[in-house]
């Protein structure tokens, strides 16, 4: 109970300290969007034939004729009250758009991360147990490939092999077959929603749909995770307490898992947090290749259309998630390593 309270206090303090950073992010994005060339009023005027008066009218409606500081203050007020504006492309409030699309991105990213961890940790451990062996070199090559090949290439390759040649994968567009029914909107995560309603056929359809894009993303982050696991396993395997465990005749599996791996995972945890945030924000290529209705492709479309509100909201969202993930990693670190005091 006492530790729980201490953790809670720590989380609260961390969140409080991250507010200035978030404010900074909001301001910088806002300014950046105004500095970029392109005038949304021109873009959204009725057509190329729209006259100057019409554009000016639109600009006035959007508040773009006011000086920038005034716009900023108004925007900050809006953000504080939870109003992130309205997307001009979709015509919906940005908050609603985000709510619809964020679960898609999160579902994809989380699945990809789980796949990446399940692949990279055993690979890293195997490489560290036999440094310089063919296994080690094989893992190194796989990692290099994963980093060098851009996700749109590996994604297309996977589609070509598993959809076109082998026909194992379903049609790689969107989250579910267009003719299949979507689950009732409970959490927005298809896998969870299908499971909650007990529709296991739908669940399987959504799951198979998810696998290709998730693997594409996982391949890309395999390298940092596997290499980090290998490096930190090597360091831990050389440490004194592993020698102690050997000297006292502990079983090899116990030494590798309970003694070495648990210690080696601490730095991997840090990297995982960073990788997760990167994946969520930078998976626009995967989303585009697989027509995945996620937040990243949404933000990219908005950016190309000089649609300020969604881009600003996207950046704010990513910054918030980054902060949350870091706090989470921090807590996990405190739980996993008794040397890190909870306070």
């Amino acid at each position: 109970m006492k530790t729980f309270l201490a953790i809670l206090r720590r989380v609260g303090r961390r969140l409080l300290f991250s507010l200035p950073a978030l404010l900074g992010v909001v301001v910088v994005t806002f300014v950046l969007m105004r500095v970029l060339p392109g005038d949304p009023a021109v873009f959204f005027a009725a057509g190329p034939s729209a006259g100057k008066a019409e554009i000016d009218e639109l600009r006035h409606q959007m508040g773009l004729d006011k000086p920038m500081p005034v716009q900023l203050v108004r925007y900050l007020g809006d953000v504080a009250t939870g109003n992130l504006g309205r997307s001009l492309t979709t015509g919906q409030p940005v908050v609603a758009d985000m709510r619809a699309r964020l679960p898609a991105s999160l579902e994809l990213t989380c699945t990809a991360l789980v796949i990446a961890l399940f692949l990279s940790i055993p690979l890293g451990v195997a490489a560290a147990l036999r440094p310089g062996s063919p296994i080690d070199h094989g893992v190194r090559m796989l990692c290099t490939l994963g980093v060098c090949v851009p996700t749109f290439v590996s994604g297309l390759l996977l589609i070509y092999v598993f959809y076109y040649l082998l026909g194992w994968a379903p049609d790689p567009t969107a989250r579910i077959d267009i003719f299949a029914s979507t689950p009732p909107d409970i959490t927005g995560f298809y896998l969870i929603d299908f499971a909650l309603t007990g529709d296991w056929q739908g669940w399987w359809a959504a799951f198979t749909q998810l696998l290709l894009p998730a693997f594409t993303m996982a391949l890309f982050v395999l390298a940092p995770l596997a290499r980090m696991t290998r490096a930190s396993m090597l360091a831990v395997l050389g440490s004194d307490f592993i020698r102690t465990a050997n000297a006292l005749g502990l079983k090899p599996l116990r030494i590798v898992v309970a003694y070495a791996l648990r210690n080696a995972l601490l730095p991997v945890l840090t990297i995982t947090g960073i990788v997760f945030s990167t994946m969520l924000g930078a998976n626009v290529l995967v989303e585009k290749v697989f027509s995945w209705p996620g937040v990243a492709s949404y933000a990219l479309d908005a950016l190309l259309a000089s649609d300020y509100a969604p881009v600003q909201a996207f950046v704010l969202l990513m910054a918030t998630i980054f902060v949350l993930v870091n706090v989470l990693i921090d807590i996990l670190y405190g739980v996993a390593d008794p040397r890190v005091s909870v306070e």
């Binding site: 440490s239 004194d240 307490f241 020698r243 102690t244 465990a245 050997n246 000297a247 006292l248 005749g249 502990l250 079983k251 090899p252 116990r254 309970a258 003694y259 648990r262 210690n263 996993a336 390593d337 008794p338 040397r339």
Partner: protein, 552 residues
Amino acid sequence: MTAPLLQVEDLKVDFSTRNGIVRALHGIGFTLHAGETLGIVGESGSGKSVTSLAVMRLLDRAGRIAGGRVLFQGRDITRAAPGDLRSLRGAAMSMIFQNPRAALNPIRTVAQQIMDVLRAHRRIDAAEARQQALDLLKAVRIRDPERRMSAYPNELSGGMCQRVMIAMAIACEPALLIADEPTTGLDVTTQKVVMDLLAGLTAERGMAVILITHDLGLAARYCGAIAVMEQGRIVEQGPTEALFRDAQHPYTRRLIAASPTRRSTLADLAQGAPPVEPVSRPPPPPGTGPLLEVQKLVKLYSGTRAVDDVSFTISAGGSLGLVGESGSGKTTLSRMICRLIDADGGDVVFQGESIGHIPARDFHKAPQRRDVQIVFQDPTDSLNPRFTAFDSIAHPLRRLEGMRDGSALTARVTEAASRAGLEPALLGRFPHQLSGGQKARVGIARAVAPRPKLLLLDEPTAALDVSIQAVILQLLDRLRREDDLALLFVSHDLNVVRMMCDQMVVLQAGKIVEAGPSMRVFEAPGAEYTRTLLDAIPHFEPNAAPADRVDA
């Protein structure tokens, strides 16, 4: 006569390194019967740790047994399969290590780690293992064992970690226990307690012990027989008393001579070194105050008084030893005096001028920085690995005297190096190309280069072998005599302080418990704490029977 427990015959070990194969052991042999204690002594690089690892078959990938054999309980284990070895290790032979905190898994509790060992060799359930673990903690006399069960190693002191390590090593009642420098890095009093405990426990259980140590006194006190190793060979072995009374091999004699004892003087330590010629110094002009005056220094660390109202003085050319156990505040105090950290109260007066009020971060600009120089504990870590010896020594001259590259700088560096006994040919080398003793000399040359008046030495020989320590101590003493250099010598080794310093200050928990001339403090300690410290030093009398040996 029963068969010996352990028999090592003509054991040879090779290490493959970047420069080819290096032989670490050149055919060593010894025999150990059940219940006996054997001390293996030698300096770093002599192969004593390799011996123990080879016996346990714990050599790392680069090491290989190239010849000879190890018989344990009559079985040749030199070529035993890994599975067989595992069932031996921990159950029949086990080992405890130097640096106990690192030897324990940082993220498992004490109870879990002891239970891991028990359950690796015995078919018992968790509750039973837990009970046995608790009994073991009681056996190693840890205070408050129930609470320590759920503690992590970082929550325990070094001494307690070593007790946990001992509990793990004796958990399955092995017949042989190898202790590799078990008390190096622990305080003398802790060392005594831990070694007494170890000797008692092993005697009770009839275990044979191999004690590997660089400390002759420790081996003499706790071992029935001793083997002396030098460069991968056992040069001499025999019963402890006979060995010390009548050492045959010149290396053994040198080692015995270099080990400080109760009565040894600096001249005794390094026999054959040129005698120190007394330098006549003009008496200080009357009316001059002390060189350094420490006035009621206080340092607070999160509420506790790490240094509590400490005052003393050092005269020009004098020497003062600061003694105490870890946590006594001696390092904090020395850091305040050399103005690396700020005091929370009191003052430091150097040559009549207060330097205690110059903030530590600005002290490098003060003129007194040149006069107060420091030699740090670890000769390796305190040198920049990217600086050659020349650059390291020239650094203070460039920074403090603004010297530019040129013949003047070269002359000063060479002069400082020669005063520290460092050959000019070594000046172009990087730290990793120098031996421990040579690195210590670079550290000393760097400190004396700006011609300071006060030299602070923070455990300058703690990381060095005894024979090198002897030479370095003589060097420091010569510098003091010749250059009128005052020394403030921080050490946990009372024998060293007695030889080096006229005055001695004993610290405990930040307070001075005793101060006075070294000889007086040593001969007739006034404070109870000083007496405890003195009693804890494992000493040996080469010409007398070891009176207080713990008979195992």
